[in-house]
């Protein structure tokens, strides 16, 4: 790893697991169906990549690890254990490290979760998506709501204290009532953390094709706005705090890994299609699992601290202006913490106003940001139109 410009020796680590049993209809992530036979070699490649990076960067402290996908729960506990061991061997894995893993509600049980818990995973994120049968079908999810209920129960039984659920709203033909029911059902499960995503129709997804063909209506953005507002109210009632535009948690249960992103601090990305940010440059790893495995076979160095599997075309040097812009764009997503004035000044050697005087003034006038003594945050009315604010800084 290039020494990050903040002089900090604490990083986060993202591990991408690009395998799924079926593809969801909205999904354009880097994931593959039917490549399960590669998993063993893929895990070996991951371990090799982690070892190389740790060695080169002189074993920085890792304070969060995140297994994302894809479907990380396709890994067996020994495979996860092997990866975590490579991290512990090549980095300084802090004792309090947050270690999250995304799991699919189907195909998991208490034994599986218990094993994960034992090897050190301490946070689970379950892709629940919807309690509505029709919406789950539309999404082509391979599980039912009962599976979600069962998975949460198993996680608790296995001793997980920090369980998060992902939900999606704003699906075509989804009513506000159906969404309210999903929220009710979800709250009954007493999660510690919730990520609520407005459905985006991405080019390349099956849904995009259906909508293009006219066999499915496009989502109603106004209704999605209503759903968002409804959820905000409902979750506050239930004791949640909205700490990011799409994320809610009970006190003390924010996701430290994701906060690293929003504070624009460095993270290493390993695994096919993973993205990383060293503090000075952004990069991604080759997308194809087979190519990834090939690139990591019998290599023993990581030139310039970059993975041998890095996608050369993806490397982007982040200059000061861009770093500042991204710090604003990302930081303002944190609704409570916002952009910390002191951290900003330490990092860039000037106040936010010194760099963005006009922008701050205009946004303040428009009632889209609060400028406080210690930080700058979005106002309540800006949450749904955040782009109008972020745009001013890029």
């Amino acid at each position: 790893m290039a020494r990050n410009s903040e002089g900090s020796r604490t990083v986060s680590l993202y591990i991408h697991i690009p395998f799924c049993r079926s593809r969801c209809s909205y999904c354009v992530f880097n994931t593959y169906v039917g490549l399960e036979h590669l998993i063993t070699r893929y895990v070996a490649a991951l371990c090799n990549e982690i070892t190389l990076l740790g060695k080169y960067s002189q074993h920085p402290i890792v304070h969060t690890v995140y297994f994302g996908g894809g479907t990380p729960s396709v890994l067996s506990p020994p495979q996860v254990a092997r990866i975590l061991r490579s991290i512990a061997d090549s980095f300084s894995l802090s004792d309090e490290a947050e270690i999250s893993l995304e799991a699919n509600p189907s195909g998991v049980d208490v034994l599986y979760f218990r094993a994960l818990r034992q090897i050190g995973v301490n946070r689970l994120s379950l892709g629940a998506q919807s309690a509505d049968v029709r919406t789950l079908q539309l999404f082509n999810r391979d599980h039912t709501w009962r599976d979600v209920v069962q998975a949460v129960r198993s996680a608790r039984q296995a001793g997980f204290r920090d369980v998060s659920l992902d939900l999606i709203y704003g699906a075509p033909e989804q009513s506000l009532e159906a969404w309210a029911r999903t929220l009710d059902e979800t709250l009954l499960l007493a999660p510690d953390h919730l990520s609520l995503y407005s459905l985006g129709i991405e080019p390349g997804s099956a849904m995009n094709v259906w909508i293009g063909r006219g066999s499915l209506p496009a989502p109603d953005v106004d209704l999605a706005a209503d759903m968002y507002e409804y959820a905000s109210g409902r979750l506050v009632q239930a004791g949640f705090e909205q700490y990011e535009i799409s994320n809610w948690s009970l006190p003390g249960y924010t996701c430290r890994h994701n906060i690293q992103y929003w504070r624009n601090l460095p993270y290493l990305g390993v695994g096919a299609g993973a993205y990383g940010f060293t503090g000075a440059l952004r990069y991604s790893i080759v997308a194809s699992p087979a190519e990834y495995i090939r690139r990591l076979q019998s290599v023993e160095t990581a030139p310039e601290g970059l993975s041998p599997a890095v996608n050369q075309d993806s490397i982007e040097y982040v200059d000061r202006d861009q770093l500042r812009a991204e710090t604003m764009m990302l930081g303002l997503r944190l609704l409570q913490e916002g952009v910390s004035r002191s951290r900003f000044a330490d990092r860039f050697g000037g106040t936010v106003e010194a760099y963005y005087e006009r922008e701050i003034e205009t946004l303040k006038q428009a009632g889209l940001i609060h400028v406080m003594e210690d930080r700058i945050v979005l106002t309540a009315k800006a949450r749904l139109i955040g782009n109008r604010v972020f745009m001013c800084f890029v």
Binding site: S198, A225, N387
Partner: protein, 600 residues
């Protein structure tokens, strides 16, 4: 070179019949361009011409040709545009020539601009060399087309030269015919110098570059030259010929076509149509110049960013040097601030000017809907001329509004007569005559208001005739019409730049279409925006652009930062191109919406 060994000719034709491609072959044949440097339609050197595959500017080029009679000839060729909007380019090229190669597409036959350009050439007494092109096409019917040309010109069909400009087949015969049939220039090399400026462009180092045809005497770099109309004197920076790039020769003699780099900075001192002479031995009489063309349509051009006003004026002035038909004057709009009222020869011309301003001068500009020039007779007896709906006085003081009518000729296979009739009637046109061109093709003549002609008439004609119909038109006269002003209010404010003058019977229909079109074009704002169309005080249509509720990236994690930043940058750029009208952001397309009212 002696005058008797010089030939000057231009290539004229209907659009796309292959003029520029034929020019390519002639340049190759004479070795003016090596095969290595050759590219398709090499004389179409403007970026826009290459992209669209259309000639916009006439270009001159000098070739040296060793003819079959054993002598070497200097041949000056001018390739001209075929689009009807650029016929002024053709007319100026004609004055620099003694002959014209008339090209006709062997699969299409004689079309509207074939005739229009031919008549222009005949008016200037040019020797016509008829050529049938594209004989390589499977659908080619060269004998029939040659017969059509015989009927038209009275030359025997067997004298019509069949060629394929694409394959190069028989193009040498064209040069031989030029050498044999086009008369040499016939000016007086010893008389006081007279050279006609038929075009120009601006070069930031060499100033105005005048394209000249020397009629009498000699233009030499050593002489101080004088422009006879403006009186401006210049010591030329450079004199030369197009080959096809600018090639210095230091001298141009009677009969030659070439250029003079004047060093002058503005169009006002060096007008197209002026005559160059020498100070030392000035000519007594200038050459007959050109008639300034009258623009047909007018539109407001405004910088998107108000600070670009001066830059836009500079750009228009520079462009005027390269486009002698362009006229403009300052205009103020309540909605759009400071800009210019610009006159164009047609909508295609308008589109090209707009694009050239944006590309060649890097300006973001906004055009209002095009309008024609109306004569308004006031109750007071006075008659005023307006070319913008915003200038129309209050109904109460108007006695009568007169609008320009055109005579049009539509060339079409007879299968499409029905739909064309229908289209013309819908556009308030009146049928006049029909003539058979041959067994299956006719020429229809109509009269139609110009205002209807400029709004998507041509596109619709093309589409209902599957591309087969062609069109030519001439101004016919002014006639009173039952016309009213259709006003558009955005967020309760009338927007002058969106107002239209329409026929009373169409007001309701157009108002509705326009409102629903604007509703789709105006992006949702942070508040609801009502849009209304009104005639006088009466609102005839309304719609609401709902307030924007949601505009935020739902997901943004480590993997997305670069992509998300780029999305935001793109969104920001898009917003910059919107124009603030009051507190409403309006896209440029909204101002042109009126052109596409019947589309969907």
């Amino acid at each position: 070179m002696e005058e008797k060994n010089i030939r000057n000719f231009c290539i004229i034709a209907h659009i796309d019949h292959g003029k520029s491609t034929l020019a390519d072959r002639l340049l190759q044949l004479t070795g003016t361009i090596s095969d290595r440097d050759m590219q398709e339609q090499i004389l179409d050197d403007m970026e826009l011409e290459r992209e669209r595959g259309v000639t916009i500017k006439a270009s001159a080029v000098r070739m040296m040709y060793d003819a079959e009679d054993g002598r070497q000839y200097e041949i000056n060729l001018i390739d001209t545009p075929g689009h009807v909007d650029f016929s002024y380019e053709v007319s100026r090229a004609l004055l620099a020539c003694e002959g014209a190669v008339l090209v006709v597409d062997a699969s299409q036959g004689i079309e509207a601009q074939t005739l229009a350009n031919l008549y222009m050439a005949l008016e200037h007494d040019l020797e016509i060399i008829p050529v049938v092109n594209k004989i390589d096409l499977p659908a080619a019917r060269p004998e029939e087309v040659a017969q059509e040309l015989e009927d038209l010109l009275g030359v025997p069909a067997e004298d019509v030269i069949p060629v394929s400009a694409k394959t190069g087949d028989n193009v040498k015969a064209v040069l031989e015919a030029v050498v044999r049939q086009v008369p040499p220039p016939g000016g007086d090399p010893d008389a006081p110098t007279r050279a006609l400026i038929f075009d120009s462009h601006y070069d930031s180092y060499k100033g105005v570059i005048a394209y000249v045809r020397v009629v009498d005497g000699v233009l030499s770099q050593k002489d101080t030259l004088k422009l006879m109309a403006t009186g401006a004197q210049v010591d030329p920076i450079e004199i030369g010929v197009f080959s096809p790039g600018m090639l210095t020769t230091g001298i141009l003699r009677a009969g030659d076509v070439g250029y003079v780099a004047t060093g002058l900075k503005t169009v006002h001192e060096c007008r197209v149509g002026d005559t160059l002479t020498t100070v030392r031995n000035a000519a007594a009489e200038p050459l007959p110049g050109y008639q300034q063309v009258k623009p047909m349509v007018f539109a407001g051009l405004y910088p998107v960013d108000n600070d670009d006003y001066d830059a836009l004026r500079d750009a228009l002035e520079k462009l005027q040097l390269n486009d002698a038909s362009l006229v403009f004057q300052p205009e103020t709009s309540q909605a759009l601030n400071f800009g210019f009222r610009v006159g164009f020869l047609g909508l295609f011309h308008m589109e090209i000017v707009q694009e050239r301003l944006e590309r060649e001068y890097d300006l973001d500009i906004l055009a209002t809907a095009p309008s024609v020039e109306y004569e308004v007779v006031l109750r007071s007896g006075e008659t005023i001329t307006i070319d913008s709906p915003a200038e129309l006085p209050d109904e109460s003081v108007i006695e009568e509004i007169r609008e320009p009518w055109m005579k049009i000729q539509v060339f079409t296979p007879q299968d499409f007569i029905g739909p064309i009739m229908e289209l013309v009637t819908k556009k308030r046109g009146v049928y006049e005559t029909m003539e058979y061109l041959d067994a299956s093709r006719v020429m229809l003549t109509y009269r139609i208001p110009l205002a209807e002609l400029i709004v998507d008439f041509y596109d619709r004609l093309k589409s209902i005739s599957r591309g087969y119909a062609s069109l030519d038109y001439q101004f016919d006269g002014y006639e009173p019409g039952d016309l009213v002003k259709l006003e558009v209010l955005v967020n309760q404010q009338p927007v002058d730049a969106l107002a239209l003058i329409v026929h009373r019977e169409q007001a309701y229909h157009k108002g509705q279409k326009l409102v629903s079109k604007l509703k789709r074009l105006i992006p949702r704002q942070l508040f609801a925006v009502p849009i209304q169309a009104a005639v006088g005080k009466r609102v005839i249509s309304r719609a609401n652009v709902k307030a924007l509720r949601k505009d935020v990236l739902a997901k943004c994690y480590g993997g997305d930062v670069t992509r998300k930043r780029k999305l935001l940058e793109k969104q920001k750029k898009g917003k910059k191109r919107l124009k603030m009208i009051g507190n409403v952001e309006v896209p440029q397309e909204a101002f042109m919406a009126v052109l596409r009212l019947d589309e969907d």
